[in-house]
Amino acid sequence: MDQLKTLLATAPDRIQAAPNLEALREVENQLLGRKSLVAESRRSLASLPSEERPVVGAQLNEAHQRLTALIEGRRADLERIAEDGLLLGDRVDVTLPARELRLGWHHLVTQTLDEVADIFVSLGYGVVTGPEVDTAWHNFDALNTPPTHPSRLESDTMYVDYGNPDDELLLRTQTSTMQVRYMEQHDPPVYIVAPGRCYRADTLDATHSPVFHQIEGLAVDENISMADLKGTLAHFMREFLGSERKIRLLPHFFPFTEPSAEMHVSCFNCDGSGCRVCGKSGWIELLGCGVVDPHVLEAVGYDTSKYSGFAFGVGAERLAMVRHGINHIKHFYENDLRVLRQFT
């Protein structure tokens, strides 16, 4: 049995030393083959006294198992090495872009509109869309904008030749038309956002385009207040521009809200200390908003003593330009692939 102990002590090194599968088979033959110590000892088991036989037999079995496991382990290693050797002949330059999966890019405007819509969907809002050519009633009158208001001039608004001239069809100048169209069809409570295309008679410059996109928000319910507007916009900005954002409202004027405000958001680039992005003020002016003017609610037949609301409108291009440092609004409409491929 000392022989067996010696064998078990030296076997691992011998097995590991086998340089290839052939040598391993030779070692296996020596350790476990017909003429091996283990095999011969087994054959001589019968000559042992009957009380020793089970003990020795068990030792031999255990030795056989250990040796087999070591050999199989080594064999697996040698097989893998052998296959890798073969595979090296199949080597290629993996940095070669031999094949491409050519995908397209989503436009930044739709990405932005979707992102904003999702923020409000998570607050329980619905998303509504509607016509871009609309009546002056929906774009102006119902929004408390009198016939003499300068925004109705042809220098500001594009009108179209269609239908009854009394309807004064125009290319909507704001998605606020959807406030009116939605409230005409639905009773409160109203929690909607309305993304879409708008038009103004502006010549193209860095920040103005005759075609642009807005997303309008409207909440009308019992006891909706300016505090709700502030909280909602603060949540929107934290979702869109980072959790550290703060907002402030400054008094402003819009015909369809009273009180009206301009929302400024603390600069995401400098965190309010002043930089190029925010024009050194620490704040970025981003959107117009306010408490819905009672005339607007009355125009759609809502009971203003019971319901109040807030509304805001924000330009999709403006949001994207601020966040991504885009210097000219034309980049949204040239469809230059060198620009589109940045819209990741």
Binding site: L103, V127, P131, D161, N335
Partner: protein, 800 residues
């Protein structure tokens, strides 16, 4: 509006020197700060002098030679300005002086004459932008005074953007009133004591249109001496962006800036009959305005006339005939109230925006004219040596009184989300001149300078503004949970699919030109050829609303090709505008959403090693099939067709539920050429609605665990038979175990004969409950072959 802080201090003790702090205050009051400028002295060594003598420069026509004294002996100074004569009091930079911009003044020869310094313009002294002439000072200023001592600097001038609802804030006093409210400080309103002289003025005023002009105050001042106004007034006007003219005109402008009441000064000796009539113009009347332009008047123009005719546009601009000039001695001060729409109409029609019209358009306090005219008269007495004539004309047939507005105090928490005590509300409103009585509702008396405040909501806004928007808390209401509709979700999947297929999303403006629609090969009776016109299109903008997205996409492809891009694949989702009633509102045109795509050149996955595919009709049809399969569009069919603008042999109509929803294929080569492109162009344009329409839920089908029987069939058949017909027939004839039919080969050639082609399909059979044997399938295979041979005049060429 430009606001000088130093000037503002005449009316309110602004308690800060810090312009940034003041900017915050203005913003919080609703007066957006466009910017501010810190002004300080930019010159040294400038002395007040008198021009003793002016003579021509011997060597230069454009220059003059002046003898100027600054207290000592007169010196020669060469000057290029012509807006003064001998006797003028002027700022002189003597040798050694330094001007704005750093120029050091010395003795220097100008065209052969030595000039001992310069007579300075406002721009040279850093006191304005005006280069047009030198500064002419008030004759009372003592010669030899250091000019710097006369200049009220340093100062800060804010540029405020006043919202259209606040006409009252378009004045120094209006801004002072808001600052006073913010800081809780009193506001001082200048009140000169006016001593009038007899006899009474003979001026007669008649209001023929009291709607257009509810009030007209005419006040006469005689014996004025027209000259330069005092330096402080000139500089204040300059700070507001108004060029000083003479003391009389400057005073009317100064009072306008101070009070917000536009004034006009007439030379009363040139007002025929000393009579003023306010009326609408008559056909054929004309007026030469102060800017020297002859205007043809409309019967809607509200005008000021005298006995001889029109002398001014009411509230917009005066006329030349009655202009105040150097020789004027009698002035008629006009301080009136004009109807905003009338002024807006005239200003717009004649393209005349003035300080006066911009205020009248918004609505000036009707109770201001009397005070403003008196203030102007007092200044003319004080600064121009005039004498105010008794007998002011004040035509004000219907006095406009302050009006009451009731405010239920519960509106404050309901609309603002804050609780304010009654006393606090009353106090906040009193700070801006609103008096309140009553318990609840409060009865608030709104002063006539706030025409914008008519309703409780308007009062709530004022309470919020003066209290501070920043004191309103943030609360977050949550809606009932609308979410995205199925169509909205499907549209997003569709966009994801298109980008996954290699198309990039484009956004084109919604306009096309007539020639674009012609170039697209649309026939004259096609609705898409009848684009709706924009009545007032912008220059450089196509004049029609788009009826198809393809024109825009093709132009975008061209734009990219011109920048050397290849592998162009774009899609767009957007509205087209069709001249037919919209299903949602018959007053407006139909504006359906469309999906369109265009691909040119290599398409799909390019390979460095190996081939590539070029976009063609099959790229377009494959795109359609991908949409159908991925979005699960039911009952979708692709049918050989010849849609307008497409290649007659390489295009298809696509149908959903039996209705054509669009076209896919290759564009007609003529269309391709007309958009400046070449080669094959794969394209499609589809109605979006049927693609994203909600549909019934699909039902699960258990995949079989048994192996299939697969066989191929190649048929020789007439070349005109579409492969779709073959696939449909095979499907129909195959029986219950059919799993799929797939076309895997198509060819024509001499071996088949003229007008014949071969199509091979692979057919998979599989049973849900057992392993099919060839013997079981054989009868089905035979039935397929027989039906195809019988119905399609086909022969089985081979099979497995």
């Amino acid at each position: 509006m430009k606001v000088s802080v130093r000037w503002l201090r005449d009316y309110v003790d602004v308690p800060t020197e810090d312009p940034d702090e003041l900017a915050e205050v203005f913003s919080s009051l609703g007066h957006e700060v466009e910017g501010y400028e810190v002004l300080d002295l930019q010159f040294s060594g400038v002395i007040v002098g008198r021009v003793e003598e002016v003579s021509p420069h011997p060597n230069a026509d454009k220059l003059r030679l002046c003898r100027v004294t600054t207290g000592g002996d007169p010196q020669d100074i060469v000057c290029g300005a012509w807006n003064f004569e001998a006797g003028a009091i002027v700022p002189v930079s003597v040798p050694g002086a330094v001007l704005a911009g750093g120029l050091e003044v010395g003795v220097r020869a100008l065209r052969g004459i030595e000039s001992h310094g310069m007579i300075c313009s406002a721009a040279e002294l850093g006191l304005g932008d005006d280069h047009s002439g030198i500064m002419v000072l008030d004759p009372e200023v003592e010669v030899g005074t250091k000019f710097a001592e006369l200049v009220p600097l340093p100062d800060v001038v804010f540029d405020l953007s006043i919202t259209p609802n606040r006409p009252d804030a378009m004045s120094m006093l209006g801004i002072a009133r808001d600052l006073g409210a913010y800081y809780r400080l009193p506001v001082r309103i200048p009140a000169g004591s006016l001593i009038e002289v007899e006899p009474e003025s003979r001026v007669k005023v008649t209001l023929e249109d009291p709607h257009g002009c509810p009030r007209y105050v005419g006040r006469e001042v005689k014996d004025v001496k027209v000259a330069a106004s005092p330096l402080w007034m000139q500089l204040r006007l300059r700070s507001a962006g108004i060029r000083p003219i003479n003391n009389i005109v400057d005073i009317t402008n100064y009072v306008l800036l101070e009070t917000g009441q536009p004034l006009h000064g007439f030379d009363l000796d040139h007002v025929a009959g000393e009579e003023i009539i306010v009326r609408r113009a008559e056909p054929g009347e004309t007026l030469r305005t102060l800017d020297g332009v002859d205007r043809e008047l409309s019967v809607w123009d509200l005008v000021i006339t005298d006995a001889s005719g029109v002398v001014a546009f009411a509230g917009v601009m005066g006329g030349e005939t009655s202009e105040v000039s150097d020789g004027t001695t009698r002035v008629l001060i006009e301080a009136a109230h004009f109807d905003p729409p009338s002024v807006m109409f005239t200003a717009k029609r004649h393209d005349l925006r003035t300080e006066a019209s911009s205020r009248f358009e918004r609505g000036v306090d009707p109770n201001l004219p009397g005070r403003a005219a008196e203030r102007a008269a007092a200044l003319m007495v004080e600064l121009a040596g005039g004498r105010a004539v008794a007998g002011v004309q004040d035509n004000y047939p219907e006095v406009i009184e302050p009006w009451p507005v009731e405010l239920d105090l519960k509106e404050i928490p309901r609309l603002l989300g804050i609780e304010l005590d009654r006393e606090v509300v009353i106090d906040l409103l009193s700070l801006i001149g609103f008096e309140s009585t009553g318990q609840n509702p409060l009865v608030v008396t709104v002063p006539t300078f706030r025409p914008d405040v008519r309703r409780p909501a308007d009062l709530v806004e004022e309470v919020a503004r003066i209290h501070g928007y920043d004191k309103i808390p943030e609360t977050l209401p949550v809606g009932p949970g609308g979410g995205l509709t199925e169509a909205q979700l499907t549209e997003r999947r569709l966009r994801g699919l298109m980008t996954g297929l290699g198309f990039s999303e484009a956004q084109n403006w919604s306009f096309v030109g007539t020639e674009d629609l012609e170039n697209l090969g649309l026939s004259a009776d096609d609705l898409r050829r009848r684009g709706i016109a924009v009545r007032n299109p912008l220059r450089d903008l196509e004049p029609l609303l788009r009826t198809t997205l393809l024109a825009g996409l093709l132009k975008s492809v061209r734009f990219n090709a011109s920048h050397g891009a290849d592998r162009l694949a774009l899609f767009e989702i957007g509205k087209v505008f069709l001249a037919e009633p919209s299903p949602i509102d018959a007053r407006i045109p139909n504006q359906p959403d469309r999906l369109a795509f265009v691909a040119v050149g290599e398409f799909g996955s390019p390979q460095v090693k190996g081939g590539h595919s070029i976009a063609d009709v099959y790229t377009a049809t494959a795109t359609w099939r991908a949409l159908v399969e991925t979005l699960g569009i039911p009952d979708a069919v692709l049918r050989q067709g010849s849609p307008a603008g497409f290649h007659p042999g390489r295009a298809a109509d696509v149908l959903v539920g039996g209705t054509i929803v669009g076209s896919v294929g290759e564009l007609h080569p003529a269309v391709v050429r007309s958009f400046g492109l070449e080669g094959r162009v794969a394209a499609g344009e589809l109605a979006l609605e049927p693609l994203v329409a909600s549909r019934s839920w699909w039902v699960f089908q258990e995949p079989s665990t048994y192996p299939p029987v697969v066989f191929d069939l190649a048929f020789d058949l007439d070349a005109t038979v579409p492969s779709r017909a073959l696939v449909e027939l095979v499907t129909e004839s195959a029986g219950e175990w059919l799993e799929s039919v797939r076309v895997f080969d198509e060819f024509t050639g001499p071996s088949l004969g003229e007008g014949r082609k071969s199509i091979a399909v692979q057919v998979w059979f599989r049973a849900p409950d057992h392993t099919l044997t060839n013997e079981e399938v054989a009868p089905h295979r035979d039935r397929i072959v027989n039906r195809v041979e019988d119905s399609l005049d086909a022969h089985l060429r081979g099979g497995t």
